[in-house]
């Protein structure tokens, strides 16, 4: 048994469950927990919620060829059939019915099966680097924004503004954030290429968050 008492270990139990306990402290706590059924039970209770937290992250389409590259590492066959694509689309639709904000699918439905892959733009809070959600650009003009973390963006109505790399700034419309979340879809009058920005501006004209097209 480690020198740590049960109360000391249980104090650290949330951090252990969340995986944010580092170095020697973690080693000591883990050693104790491995030998103490009571503390194991406490950690297990915290782990129940901690393990579910990653579910809060938004789903994102991986880069083109991701599946092929992963399967190559697993030694699995690279199968590309029309049937697979149809089934995958059906599965994606099923997920869409379950998840609250899935912007890529919104864009795809609006463009009727675009041949252009959406460009992902991470939206970060203006005064820091806190990720607050995502923006997607499809065919250079279709814009979708999703704020889905519940942090960084106060509730309210925001103007979605695009700044093309070349050309004037355009306001595409308004987006309502409720409970820290909201979504928007619209079209830019000018193509958004690399370096273009998408931002959310509050009623006072202050930019709350921004993303740049890579």
């Amino acid at each position: 048994m480690s020198p740590l008492s049960c109360s000391q270990v249980q104090e650290s139990a949330p951090e252990l469950a969340l995986g944010i306990l580092g170095g020697a402290e973690r080693a000591e706590v883990v050693y104790h927990v491995d030998h103490c059924a009571r503390c194991q039970a406490v950690v297990a209770q915290f782990a129940e919620a901690a393990d579910a937290l990653p579910l809060l992250a938004p789903e994102l389409e991986p880069p083109a060829g991701f599946e092929t590259r992963v399967l190559a590492r697993l030694g699995a066959p690279k199968r590309r059939s029309r049937r697979r694509l149809v089934i995958a689309a059906a599965v994606a639709a099923a997920f869409a019915a379950i998840l609250s904000i899935t912007v890529v699918r919104v864009v795809e439905s609006q463009t009727g099966g675009t041949t252009s892959k959406p460009v992902t733009v991470a939206m970060a809070a203006a005064s820091g680097k806190i990720p607050v959600g995502w923006a997607y650009v499809t065919n250079g003009v279709s814009v979708a924004v999703a704020v889905d973390y519940g942090i960084g963006v106060p509730d309210g109505v925001y103007t979605v503004r695009v700044d093309p790399a070349a050309g004037p700034v355009h306001d595409l419309g308004t987006m309502t954030i409720t409970g820290g979340r909201g979504s928007f879809t619209g079209k830019s009058p000018e193509p958004l290429s690399s370096g273009s920005t998408i931002s959310m501006v509050d009623a006072s004209g202050t930019q709350t968050c921004q993303g740049t097209v890579a």
Partner: protein
């Protein structure tokens, strides 16, 4: 193949079934990549992490125990740990805590009874998160989703370490209460 349960897919993965491996990747790649990208905020690093997460899941599929949690939670935990390890190496400084101060207190959310009516863990978790006081919500998102330590949360929030730990603990207890409340109604 797509009608196969998550557990069965992992079982297939463990036996080296290549079709199961392909279906497994297709089923979870958006979630895995999305989580990795959320934490590391870099496309290339996110892909590396997502690939590695699938490789590790493949290697350890035989050890997966469905009694200890769902497949998606298991896979996302692998992903999150990899992503946090990567960020720890590359992140030079914590980000600006002022950005967090823009949060508004959450207005009325559903009560626990309403949470029980929500469809799945993700919905219930989101609803429970909204009900948390802002400071607890910030603490749990920073630590539980983005992988910041209690000390880092304390520094970003300009609060004592003990306060940061308390916020994280209280938030986690409340989130668990929401999840467990649902299980008891089933």
């Amino acid at each position: 193949m797509w009608s196969v349960s998550d557990d069965a897919l992992v079982a297939g993965l463990a036996t080296g079934d290549q079709q199961a491996a392909a279906a497994f990747v297709r089923r979870f790649q958006r979630r895995v990549y999305g989580l990795a990208r959320t934490i590391v905020t870099d496309d290339r690093a996110a892909e590396d992490i997502a690939q590695e997460a699938f490789v590790r899941a493949w290697k350890h599929a035989a050890a997966f125990d469905p009694r200890r949690g769902s497949v998606v939670s298991w896979l996302l935990t692998i992903t999150r740990n990899l992503a946090i390890d990567a960020v720890r190496v590359r992140r030079p400084v914590a980000f600006d805590p002022d950005a967090l101060l823009a949060l508004d207190p959450v207005a009325d959310g559903p009560d626990l009874a309403d949470l029980a009516q929500l469809g799945d863990d993700t919905d219930r978790l989101r609803a429970a998160l909204v009900r948390l006081p802002t400071e607890q919500r910030r603490a749990i998102v920073l630590s539980g989703l983005l992988g910041y330590t209690a000390r880092e949360v304390g520094e970003m929030e300009d609060i004592p370490l003990g306060t940061a730990k308390t916020r994280i603990r209280t938030a986690l207890i409340r989130l668990r209460t929401a999840l467990v409340a649902e299980e008891r109604t089933e």
